[in-house]
Symmetry: C2
DNA sequence: TTAGGTGTGTAGCACTTGCTACAGGGGGTG
DNA sequence: CACCCCCTGTAGCAAGTGCTACACACCTAA
């Protein structure tokens, strides 16, 4: 790997942490550069522009989460919808996942207003969620497993959204009613 | 009403339309002023600062949507969860509601990073949703109707979130599997 | 008539934003 | 040695940000 790419990799790990902690909107190029331990001038040497920085960092965050999801649920086993919902809800309402869910909502919000490159990023992250659910969901004869998976993902994301607005235990009680 | 408050009212209606069309992040004070047909100097005469402008405009948007929800479902009738989910999903995936759902996600994203005054706004809008669902939901003996309502709201919001990321009919197919 | 409060336009300040021009260090190759 | 290209720091630009100082017209009350 070229040294430039090595530095990109090193920087990306730090950027991912920073995005999870701070979020998209509060991250200027100078902030990102400071978090990555380089100058803003250098960030724009490793990446073409700010959009590419954010895209790469978001991708990095998403692949980290995908990896954690993969570990949490053993491959090959399939659950019916109710069970998968409960399991996934337990994962995503875990405090450790909260920074990611916040970032995820922010990505979707940016995608909603068409701000490049977020529509593509949001689509990609969502599809990776859908694929994960699809691989662990026993559709039990449903003729449209993809739609069923979408419903699971929507429910999980919706719980995360409500969780952002309320700091009491309402979401936990709602999750207990799944299935 | 003082003339200053009259002007505030006139301006708010235009600001609400602008927010629905453009969104929060792309709205600078000068943009908002232009949309309202006044100077930025005057906006800060009617309102204390930008946060108050946005708070008032968001509140206006939300009360408009609350009104539409109230019209769509007759007061006094209660549906079991499955039926209410289907009805609410039909409402919120309606193209006419899409601008609001996008703005809603943006509000939650701002709330997620703690940016005043959005945590309070998000909480307030969510609670009005919860109250609406609570008033139309037949809990059928569930010991925690509020949690059930939260699950309904979460599912609806989650579908809207997925809808932002995909432009195909996946969400419609998922909504068809509700209940 | 004068004093004072109300409403409004002009101009601009201090700051942040993404991005770039320029110069120079440092190491490999002829 | 000389050359050149990869890397990196300094400085700064043009645009946009929220917000404010100031002046001025207008109306009302003493």
């Amino acid at each position: 790997m070229a040294p430039r790419d090595e530095q990109r990799e090193r920087v990306l790990a730090r950027l991912a942490d920073h995005l999870l902690a701070i979020g998209l909107a509060r991250s200027s190029l100078r902030d990102l550069a400071r978090a990555a331990g380089v100058s803003d001038r250098m960030l724009l040497y490793y990446f073409a522009d700010k959009a590419e920085v954010l895209a790469a960092a978001c991708e990095r965050v998403a692949s980290g989460v995908a990896g954690r999801l993969g570990e949490a649920f053993p491959a090959g086993t399939r659950l019916p919808m109710a069970g998968l919902l409960r399991g996934a809800a337990a994962l995503t309402t875990d405090p450790a996942m909260r920074p990611f869910m916040r970032l995820w909502v922010e990505i979707v919000a940016a995608a909603a207003r068409g701000e490049a490159p977020f529509p593509a990023i949001a689509r990609q992250v969502l599809d990776s969620f859908l694929a994960w659910v699809d691989a662990h969901l026993d559709p039990q004869g449903d003729p449209d497993p993809a739609a069923l998976a979408a419903l699971v993902v929507a429910t999980i994301d919706g719980l995360a959204l409500v969780d952002i607005c309320r700091d009491d235990d309402l979401v936990d009680r709602a999750a207990a009613r799944l299935g």
